[in-house]
Symmetry: C2
Subunit: 169 residues, 2 copies
């Protein structure tokens, strides 16, 4: 727990700072974008360090596996629990115990606050993929699981790979 | 290296974000204060988690040793290299290979950029001490060591304990 604590705490202070400093702005969407951009650049830097000595990736699925294992472990000290794909460019990464949400109370009424805690991570994945040459759109989804276990929150990150259109970023 | 990479990268993105978003402001001092405040709250949160199961500290020196060992290791994956004190409330913590400076080029001309990379850490220590009941003033200093080794940058954190005056924070 203590290992990822500095990162988690800094992450949540960044969210608070951004939301506080832009109180006047009506669009909460802009704050989400700011967080996403910060994540993007962290992801870019991180993937550079992590792939320094790895072999070239065979294909996109190979890249996604690296994101699920090595990349995720580096940031969140655990692997992605489940990776699904339709083999047409859509990947779903599922984390059943997502660290950056673990301090949120369980309950549907808190779900509305989830996006700001996920924006950084969406950017993180997008930045990492971008530096590996994969243009992507990363979105996230939270579903509250039954509270019989400690794994109350689940996270889905869906990666819609951008199919060739270079106008999108 | 990879272990602390997410934290280091996020830290440097936060600095860039704050300095970029406040470009109009003439005082760079305000940005340093913002970073220091973020560090303060992270330090508060962190020390709470770390001391959850520890025995009560005997005295101030005992607290400082905890900061140098457990606290520093949690954040920077290494201990403080040297702790000195005058036994009158001033402590000097020396880190010969401070992670948050390690990406800065060596050379006196870069020393002027050091304060913004140290502000967060000053706040971090101040926040931790504050939650342990020790009011303090934390300042930092960088000195460039001869470049014969990889340990080119050294950091000093001086802790001037505030002697009882409760007006200061």
């Amino acid at each position: 727990m203590a290992d990822e604590a500095p990162f988690q705490l800094l992450h949540s202070e960044v969210i608070q700072y951004i939301y506080k400093s832009a109180e006047g702005e009506t669009e909460s969407g802009r704050n989400v974008t700011k967080l996403e951009n910060i994540g993007f650049r962290v992801g870019q830097g991180l993937i550079e360090r992590l792939t320094k000595d790895t072999a070239r990736f065979k294909d996109e699925l190979d890249i996604m596996k690296f994101i699920c294992k090595d990349f995720w472990t580096c940031v969140f000290k655990k692997q992605i629990d489940n990776l699904r794909t339709n083999h047409q460019g859509i990947y779903v990464l599922q984390d059943n115990k997502f660290g950056l949400l673990s301090h949120l109370s369980v309950g549907k009424q808190y779900l509305e606050h989830a996006p700001k805690y996920l924006a950084f991570t969406c950017g993180l994945v997008r930045g990492a993929l971008s530096n590996l040459g994969v243009k992507s759109i990363v979105t996230s989804e939270v579903s509250v699981m039954p509270s019989y276990s400690k794994k109350q929150t689940a996270e889905f990150i869906k990666l819609h790979r951008d199919s060739g259109d270079t106008n999108q970023n």
